[in-house]
Amino acid sequence: MTANLSKSIEPMVRANGVHKNFGALTVLKGIDLTVQRGEVMCLVGPSGSGKTTFLRCINHLERVNAGRLYVDGVLVGYEERGNKLHELHPREAAKQRRDIGMVFQHFNLFPHMTALENITEAPIRVKKQPKDKAVANAKRLLDQVGLGEKAKAYPAQLSGGQQQRIAIARALAMDPKLMLFDEPTSALDPELVGEVLDVMKELARGGMTMVVVTHEMGFAREVADQLVFMDDGAVVEMGAPPDVLNSPRELRTKAFLSKVL
């Protein structure tokens, strides 16, 4: 799963000293990391470590308080005018989000729409795609995730694993260049986890750049190019999965891994 790591090509995600606080609570204490094009990065760590918050900063669902975050060379959520950073108008921020797909722990499908409608909603409303084109594309994506016959089903009629696969298809419908996954399998019963991980593995094989917050160490070991361990708002250790999982350097990494492996 190695990708082109040439330094002259702009990385897909670049974080420099990213800080984030919620009121008095500092959740991110200066995150520096880089995700290359076509790379799969897994973020792991105890709950409260800030990994989900960091993920949500990448597509500006959370505001960064200090530092900079770039996606494909473009500053996220702000624009630089002169020497100052001005927050983007919500419409501009929404435009940035079109190219970044996100998959949530609890799927977050729109319950009042069918699977097909969930997938076609954004392309039609946001990209103004004509309906028949959006529907054709949606059907193709449903087949790709193995749910072609569930196009007319409502989320409530589907299992967790099926809902999550549709959520992935929904994110892919916008043709993103980056996919963010926030604990995509944590809310699933174990026997349903495999079908979702399979879809994610397919995506990775196809060259999609992915940042995945997860507890699935097996997935990380098999698919990730980089494994990042976060704790208490900072990156503690990062490297290739075999290195971090088999021979962690930091004490905190060791402690965490011993509890989850």
Binding site: R56, K95, K127, A171
Partner: protein, 285 residues
């Protein structure tokens, strides 16, 4: 797996028989105590000194029967007011609810006005609003302002009910989990698109029971427009009463309202039950 071929075992049949006998006993006790209660009520009312006159005045049904054509004709006014008002209320209340959920400092004036509106018109009794609008607006002698009592009645009812229904919509909007908004925004939908296509449709489905409730309430409050002189069903009953000093005319108007309202309340119950029917089956706890 279907339940059609299964038959309960002998043991289960004895259990069910025991439960049935216990249920029968409870039912009999309830029936007996209700009968005693109603009997005592009827006895105390029927033997009271004023009863014959009250019966003659309030419950002379052969007289009341003659009211029906006139009352039903007047009812049409109430129904018209209700339908027109309801349409305006739904539209304005939705707007106000959405305005109140707008975020960002730039919208503060709008939010403030919306909140103030809701506070004022939930505070004012409907009767007062009717007087203020019905008598006050024509007094301003504004050019082009309506002066038909019908229109003024609709305006007053709309102003008041919009405030209540706006709060119901707002509760619905806020009850939609924020993760739905996160999902919509992560797909690139703007706040407006998110609200229109994702949040509001879900909000409306959730608040159908209280919305229907307000609709029932409006149905009855239309009778208050009689204070502006509109000859609705209540004023018609009043007219009949002033002719023969019998109160059965009010009883008839009341009966008509109940008959009109019952289908709507049953519909409300049905909708509420259907919505709650997601999840666990019955239990003993």
């Amino acid at each position: 797996m279907t339940a059609t071929q299964w038959q309960p075992s002998e043991l289960q049949r004895t259990r069910d028989a025991y439960r049935r006998s216990r249920a029968r006993r409870s039912w009999l006790i309830a029936l007996l105590s209700s009968a005693v209660f109603v009997g005592a009520l009827v006895l105390s009312v029927g033997t009271s000194p004023g009863w014959p006159r009250v019966r003659e005045s309030f419950f002379d049904l052969s007289l009341g029967w003659q009211d029906l054509p006139g009352l039903l004709r007047a009812l049409w006014i109430n129904v018209q007011i209700m339908l027109i008002t309801e349409v305006f209320v739904l539209v304005f209340a939705a707007i106000i609810a959405v305005v109140r959920t707008l975020q960002g400092p730039v919208f503060f004036p709008l939010r403030f006005v919306a909140a103030a509106y809701v506070d004022i018109f939930r505070g004012l009794p409907l009767l007062l609003v009717l007087y203020l609008v019905g008598l006050g607006l024509p007094a301003l002698r504004l050019h082009g302002a309506p002066d038909s009592p019908f229109v003024l009645g609709v305006i007053a009812l709309t102003l008041t009910y919009t405030a209540y229904v706006a709060e119901v919509f707002r509760a619905g909007i806020e009850s939609v989990h924020p993760s739905q908004r996160a999902a919509a925004r992560s797909l690139g939908l703007t706040h407006g698109q998110t609200m229109r296509h994702v949040v509001f449709p879900q909000a409306v489905r959730r608040v159908l029971p209280p919305l229907l409730n307000d609709f029932v309430s409006l149905q009855k409050d239309t009778s208050l427009v009689s204070v502006l002189g509109i000859i609705d069903i209540v004023l018609t009953a009043e007219n009949y009463q002033s002719q023969d000093f019998k109160f059965v005319h009010y009883v008839m108007a009341g009966l008509i309202f109940v008959v009109m309202t019952v289908p709507l309340t049953r519909l409300t119950d049905w909708v509420a039950r259907r919505q709650g029917w997601q999840g666990s089956g019955g239990g003993v706890v």
